[in-house]
Amino acid sequence: MKPKTAENHYVLSSSPHAHARSSVSRIMLDVIVALLPTTLAGVWFFGMPAVWTILVCVATCVTTEALCRMAMGRESTVGDLSAALTGLLLALNLPAGIPLWMAMVGSVFAIAVAKQVFGGLGMNPFNPALAARAFMLISFTGPMTTWLAPVSRCCRAQAACGVDAVTTATPLAFVKAGQLDQVPPLWNLLIGDMPGCIGEVSAIALALGAAYLLWRKVITWHIPAAFIATVAIYALVSGRAPAHVEVLTGGVMLGACFMATDYVTSPITAKGKLVFGFGCGLLCMLIRQFGGYPEGCSFAILIMNAICPLVNRWTQPRPFGAK
């Protein structure tokens, strides 16, 4: 039997009755758009392996999300694009030559363990892509630290024909080993002509994306600025390597602009964001200088993710008029 309704029935809802018509999927789409430059740069430098890694990660993440929601008996959230974004971010944080099945395992971990177990978007305490990266770094240490040299222009054709790519060390590994003279020149660091993860190499492309996000008001300046400034100042004070090397390599740009600014796992208040960015920068540099890993960006952000609820708690805004 159909529910009976009054003749003139209206929508009854609480105020406000107006909406800015923004949406979660629009925000996620903005971030994906902002990641396009660095994605293209990664593909340009690392060729087809990068393309495959990205496709596999995105596809696995989206599929896992759909399957998880189905298993949980909840409505699908594939449409909010957050899973696709996680896949893209994870791929950009992987070396191009990683075996595809590993990328797949990582993607499943990102969505199933780091996100859907907690109830999906908005509930996860850790950035799914970073949690998956840390998981892979520990599980598949070898492949995760084998870096393809960027395909230089002359041998791009060869690479496309399937010739084995050359593996090499990242600039930060040289820094760690004290071989500063091996670090590529500034121009290479800016455009991204160096070994590294797919999405972390091209500083210019990343800055372009970050500018887009700032312009769209998707992110605020607090976290990237605090993060990068802390790294730069630490580099200047410690004198381990030139500040530009520390900032432009090892995923600091990608982390500061795209990973640390993840809404769900970063503080909500402006003050908290500054603290968060500072903490990320400091931990990143401490791990780089003293820790067992040559680069510490993703672990630094993960640890700050863990502290984020406390930072939120300690930086609650003071109400207008409160003492």
Partner: protein, 468 residues
Amino acid sequence: MKTVKSKFKFKGGVHPDYNKELARDGAIERLPLPKELAVSMSQHLGAPARCLVKAGDFVRRGQVIGEKAGFISVCVRSPADGKVKAVEKRVGAAGAMADAVLIDTTASLPEDAPPPPVLAPMDWSSATREELLGRIEEAGICGMGGAGFPTAVKLNPPPGKRCEYLVLNGAECEPYLTADYRVMLERAPRIRLGVEIMRKVLGLPAVRIAIEANKPEAIAAMEAAFADIEGNVEIVVLPVLYPQGSEKHQIYATVGRVVPEPPALPIDVGCVVENVGTVAAIADAVELGEPLLERVTTVSGDAVATPKNVLAPSGTRYADLLEFCGGATERPAKVISGGTMMGFAVSSLDIGTTKTTSGLLFLSRRRVFQYSSQACINCGRCLRACPMNLNPAEISKAMEVDDVKTAEDAHVMDCIECGACSFGCPAYRAITQFCRKAKNSIRARIAAERAAAAAAKASDGAAKKEAK
């Protein structure tokens, strides 16, 4: 008298679509007396008036049909001659049940009916402060901006507190609404007179007239009306920003003072804020002896044939207002009493207007967003939009699992329910409603605690008596 720009900008705020052009240029039109009125006893903030009439009684225009019931309360007068058809509990616009007197205005009065009561016109310059306050009270005037706080109470600060600034609220930041705007244009001299009366009552405070920058004509009208006024009077042009009309934010924008947390009131920082419509009503009550029986209501929305600013007696059924404005062009999907940001969705057109009904909006399906909310993604838009600098995200997340304590710790009681948080939420969460839920349950808890304490005290007293 001078016109200045506001020097103080509060944090937060949003820019909704104002849609004021729909009714802005329509001069105030008087509604012919409707056949039936539904006059609520709860038209104001505070205790509902006590109903004095019963079914079958004849009432005259201006007759008191509901008497003031408590300190924070105002009387209700009949807006027209007629016969009481019934007195019954009805749901008001805000969703609460209250007595409503249904008056049949077509009934012919018996010959021996008493003449309508008359309030004698007063000369405000010679009347005493108490006389003026008494008149404002007996005219049944309450704030006409929306909350409906009894004006006589507001104009009578408790001992030890002095009003230094009288802030005139002409911001009208709510979308669609143009009633105050039209009053400022068409009734500027009345507002001027009302201001002079209020200054006398309040002990000659400085006057700040707050108008948003998107109403240049209103600013010009007020400039003209107040051109030759003596004393410290300024028109403050506010930036266009919602919720500029909020009392606390208006005080900050005009005077630069910050009202502390509740239970502090504006008078604690030496300010009294009054809506322009109320000020005009005060002038009418004092100079003409005309009680507050009617008000200007903006009837607007994209489902109304001809949006208008209508002068209608309180108790006019929404259906009559809609009919006066040419009816609906299509079936309205949502009817809102008030503006789109803070108004109340209503379920029936049988509800009568009140002294605080500033607008009545009929929105088509296209203007109504029905949300199915998602999980909070912590984006912080609500935090940035909140003019009270709260953390609405935290409150909404806590209230989703009925965690009232967390909400209370997050100062939810400071929330002014302006709706800026929900307005911008990309996850379409009903944040404002969660805040309201939290506030209601905290208020209920406090009331229960008070009642329990009072009961304990009473039984304690009884026990002692018995012991004696």
